[in-house]
């Protein structure tokens, strides 16, 4: 058993990996910013279709979209969806099926609201980035998600 902490070795390994990884991140073409940025909140819900957007929206804005008949996509696992979801929301676990359905029913420029369980989940944002990569250009992430919607008494099902 070692009798004392090998601080020297720990420091050498830690510094080497930090320097190596930061250098690699700086030189590679798909490097990421050192600090993650929060999704910006939409200022208004009206939008010029020519300009792609991926923004966060508040509960009030989500309700406005809902009243306009915008498609809501539930990014949670199906078992959570079955327990309760925003009325009319879609839940399609197979990504390509979702892409196909969204594309064929409303095209890539039409708005869609994506949500998951609440502020603390990331699947809505993940899904939004994946859809963005597929060419969808009007993506709104409802950060409050199911929790905010359900507690404020807006339409749900079942």
């Amino acid at each position: 058993m070692i009798t004392q902490l090998p601080i020297g070795q720990i420091i050498v390994i830690a510094i080497t990996s930090t320097v190596l990884s930061l250098t690699l991140n700086a030189v590679r073409s798909d490097g990421i910013p050192l600090l993650a940025e929060e999704l910006a909140v939409a200022e208004e819900i009206e939008h010029d279709a020519a300009e792609p957007r991926l923004l966060a929206i508040t509960l009030d804005q989500a309700l406005e979209f809902y009243q306009k008949g915008t498609v809501f996509v539930d990014a949670r696992e199906p078992e959570y969806y079955q327990e309760g979801h925003i009325k009319g929301a879609w839940n399609i676990p197979f990504f390509l099926e979702l892409v196909f359905k969204l594309d064929s029913l409303q095209g890539k420029d039409a708005p869609m609201v994506i949500y998951c369980s609440g502020d603390e989940c990331g699947s809505s944002e993940d899904l939004a980035y994946e859809l963005q990569a597929e060419g969808f250009s009007n993506l709104l992430v409802f950060k409050g998600g199911w929790t905010a919607w359900n507690t404020s008494g807006h339409p749900t099902e079942p």
């Binding site: 058993m1 070692i2 902490l5 090998p6 020297g8 070795q9 720990i10 050498v12 390994i13 830690a14 080497t16 990996s17 930090t18 190596l20 990884s21 930061l22 690699l24 991140n25 798909d30 490097g31 990421i32 910013p33 050192l34 600090l35 993650a36 940025e37 929060e38 949670r76 696992e77 959570y80 990504f95 369980s117 603390e120 989940c121 990331g122 699947s123 944002e125 993940d126 980035y129 994946e130």
Partner: protein
């Protein structure tokens, strides 16, 4: 009673297996830094967008520690870092489970196609196993089959 040489063999096995696992786990994360950073972000434990920094550094640290363990370089340091990482992973996984957030583990694979690996008790047990293996390396009897330092 386990003899000293048996203990050395067990420690050698542990360190090679753990090293290979760490190297394997690091590859997908190194290839997909943005996805891995998002997987960390989903745990909701880091403030100020620090998930990106961790997403950049952690995979390389895993890779380096894995290589050190396999080759026998600075074994005490790398085994302690490995043990420390496992403790951090166990805490992160447990708090996610307790809070009931349903997220992708980000343990071995981070891309969409492999999102089936959810946080769960199996991942926690795995990490305890890896923690045990790091401790076996730390408590190895003699310093055999090591590249550096020799004594």
């Amino acid at each position: 009673m386990i003899t000293l040489s048996q203990r050395s063999v067990i420690a050698l096995l542990c360190r090679v297996i753990l090293g290979v696992i760490l190297i394997y786990a690091s590859i997908d994360k190194i290839v997909h830094p943005a996805e891995f950073a998002k997987a960390i972000g989903n745990y909701n434990v880091l403030p100020f967008g620090l998930e990106n920094l961790l997403g950049i550094v952690l995979p390389i640290l895993e890779l380096l520690v894995g290589i050190c363990l396999v080759l026998g370089i600075m074994l005490d340091g790398s085994a302690i870092i490995a043990a420390g990482m496992m403790i951090v992973f166990i805490i992160a996984l447990s708090q996610a489970m307790i809070r009931g957030i349903d997220i992708n583990c980000g343990c071995f694979k981070v891309t969409v196609e492999n999102a089936g690996q959810q946080v769960g008790i199996r991942r926690i047990i795995e990490d305890f196993l890896f923690l045990g293996m790091s401790l076996m390396v730390l408590s190895r009897g003699e310093r055999k089959w090591e590249l550096y330092p020799k004594s």
